[in-house]
């Protein structure tokens, strides 16, 4: 290690030699950085899962524009909108088609007594063009009364039921006092709002959600004519529809708005964001404490080097060398433990936690930056190394 670092730095690796000389302190420092890294990874992972599950429903749909109630928050947390706007939107030039969509949360109890909540989408079963291709293939089956496509990734569904579903055996379950038959599957998985998803025809939906009316869907999905700009139609509809009660967004912008809402206006998003901040702060404090103590412990030696003619840049180099070593040594175990914890959380909660390469690189760069900032603050103590005190 010393030889490698000597080659890299072009000098004796004083920082590494200092750190490795005191094994106990090195272990504590690396553990501290690893813990801070783990904290950040966990917060980012859960935040990522929140984001993924927030926009996951969009992957079930195939539309260009979504018209929603202005009072709604997100796709799945919507207020009903008058169906009359569907006809108004259809009359706009460039709009090729429209479909109302109904969204609600359907609770049901599994045979083992487990209570499951399904985010249920009621769609027009004769309009496969408005849903994702993998759903469109089975959509026709939903024209039968009380049938649904069930999410095999639903939390709590027993493996034997999943096996039956995937091999095409219908699965019957009761909800709201009625029997539903699953006649097909999709694989989305649970999120923060529900344990899984369910797609039914709008007629079945209205049967199960008796307080809902066909004249008040959750959203209106639109498709624009071939070759027509989505943004142009959005602008046209925004002018035509009353902005006070209706919002018109492209599907892409609606997904981004949902992410923004969840991360900045919902307590969960704010809490996870705060957790990331706390992780960074913990890392900064730990590394600063370690480096600051290290500088204080070696002031006599640094003063000697100053007397010998080593300039300030040399000492900065030593402290930054230590900061970089701590960042690298702390990041690696932090990453490994995080991957393990992600896997554990996925198996327990079914949340879509995934270690993305981009996130790992970002956290590494963040760890490096935090350690460097701590090192920079710790170098203030170098001023106390006065070579005149040596004699």
């Amino acid at each position: 290690m010393s030889k490698l670092l000597t080659l890299i730095f072009g000098r004796l690796p004083i920082g590494w030699l200092q750190l490795s000389h005191n094994k106990g302190r090195l272990f504590a420092a690396v553990s501290g950085v690893a813990f801070a890294t783990l904290l950040v990874f966990m917060q980012l992972g859960i935040m990522g899962a929140l984001n993924t599950s927030t926009i996951a429903p969009y992957a079930l749909l195939d539309a260009d524009i979504v018209v929603s109630s202005e009072a709604g928050n997100t796709l799945t947390d919507a207020e009903n909108i008058a169906k009359v706007w569907l006809f108004q939107a259809l009359s706009a030039p460039g709009v090729a088609g429209a479909m109302p969509i109904y969204i609600g949360n359907l609770p049901f109890t599994l045979t083992d007594g487990t209570s499951v909540s399904l985010l249920t989408f009621g769609v027009d079963a004769t309009r496969p063009g408005f849903v994702a291709p993998q759903i469109a293939r089975s959509l026709g089956r939903l024209t039968l009364e009380n049938t649904a496509l069930l999410d095999v990734g639903t939390r709590g569904v027993p493996p034997d039921v999943v096996d039956d579903l995937t091999s095409g055996i219908p699965f019957m379950f009761e909800a709201n006092g009625q029997t539903m038959a699953s006649v097909g599957t999709m694989d989305v998985g649970g999120g923060f709002l529900a344990d899984g998803m369910l797609i039914t025809s709008d007629q079945t939906f209205l049967r199960f959600f008796q307080s809902r009316s066909s004249g008040a869907p959750s959203h209106i999905l639109l498709k624009v004519a071939h070759g027509v700009s989505v943004d142009t139609i959005v602008a046209r509809l925004q002018d035509a529809l009353p902005a006070a009660s209706v919002k018109v967004q492209s599907m892409q912008n609606a997904a981004q708005a949902d992410l923004s809402f969840m991360s900045t206006q919902r307590p969960t998003g704010i809490i996870f964001g705060f957790g990331v901040f706390m992780g960074i702060l913990v890392g900064l404090v730990i590394v600063y404490q370690v480096l600051s103590t290290d500088v204080a412990d070696h002031l006599g030696e640094y003063a000697t080097f100053k007397a010998m003619g080593y300039g300030h840049s040399f000492f900065l180099g030593v402290v930054f060398e230590e900061a970089i070593i701590l960042a690298i040594f702390g990041f690696i175990p932090g990453l490994i433990v995080s991957i393990g914890l992600y896997a554990g959380l996925v198996s327990v909660t079914g949340l879509p936690l995934q270690m993305e390469a981009g996130t790992a690189i970002l956290v590494f760069l963040g760890t490096l930056a935090a350690c460097t900032v701590s090192g920079a603050i710790a170098t203030r103590r170098l001023g106390n190394a006065d070579p005149a005190d040596l004699f």
Binding site: Q18, H298, E301, T304, K306, A388, L390, F391
Partner: protein, 239 residues
């Protein structure tokens, strides 16, 4: 090797510690010239100002009043860059060896060489080993300071100061922790460097065993030079 020219020239040097009512003068109107290649010993009781004088002429302490010329550079008013540059041409031996605890004997000595760059690492390593060998530490090259005795540590510190062929060696009680033979070896080495390379040594010591090796002995009391004894031609003041 050129000898005889002044390497250190001190004129009207005064130095104070503290401020206000606590301000106390430690050095009074000192004039002094030290020749290249000489071995000068500063003696005097505790508080006589010898260590303060040593730190002033070695560019470690700011010159407040008077002039100190070191290696043809004026220290009064010198900026930090010049001071750093000058210190690179000096060798320091401290009473407390001040070795780096995390570095082996060889690495500590290498620090005296890396200061001047690391163009030829192998050559520097050989030079460090050679200096440790001369000081009887051939079998302690890879020892950390905590595994060395007090005398061995001091010899490593001496090796660190001498390995880069410094033009001036400034030493504070360098033989205090050494036995008679080791102390003699160190001082004879300094003397030999003076003869062979023109290295100038200024040493604070109370050790009577090495007085006979000095070219010049300066005694200080209460911040003033009270005796200046030239022992050999090498120590003769040019003034």
């Amino acid at each position: 090797m050129r000898t005889g020219s002044d390497l250190i020239a001190v004129r009207g040097l005064n130095h104070f510690f503290g401020t206000g009512d606590a301000r106390k003068q430690a050095i009074f109107d000192i004039d002094l010239s030290i020749k290249r290649g000489s071995l000068t010993i500063l003696m005097g009781p505790s508080g006589s100002g010898k260590t303060t004088l040593l730190t002033l002429i070695s560019a470690l302490r700011e010159v407040q009043a008077g002039n100190v010329r070191l290696l043809d550079a004026e220290l009064n008013g010198a900026d930090e860059a010049l001071l750093v540059h000058l210190r690179q041409r000096l060798g320091f031996i401290f009473q407390a060896h001040n070795l780096h605890e995390s570095l082996t004997a060889t690495q500590n000595v290498l620090m005296g060489l890396e200061l001047h760059g690391r163009a030829n690492a192998l050559k520097q390593l050989n030079a460090a080993h050679h200096m440790l060998d001369i000081l009887g530490l051939a079998d302690r090259r890879d020892y950390l300071p905590e595994k060395l005795s007090g005398g061995q540590k001091q010899r490593v510190a001496v090796a660190r100061a001498l390995v880069s062929n410094s033009e001036v060696v400034l030493a504070d009680e360098p033989t205090a922790a050494l036995d008679k033979v080791s102390g003699q070896t160190v001082v004879e080495l300094l003397k030999e460097l003076g003869r062979a390379r023109g290295t100038t040594t200024v040493m604070v010591t109370h050790d009577p065993r090495i007085l006979e090796l000095a070219d010049r002995i300066i005694r200080l009391e209460d911040g003033r030079i009270v005796a200046d004894e030239i022992v050999s031609d090498r120590g003769k003041d040019t003034e």
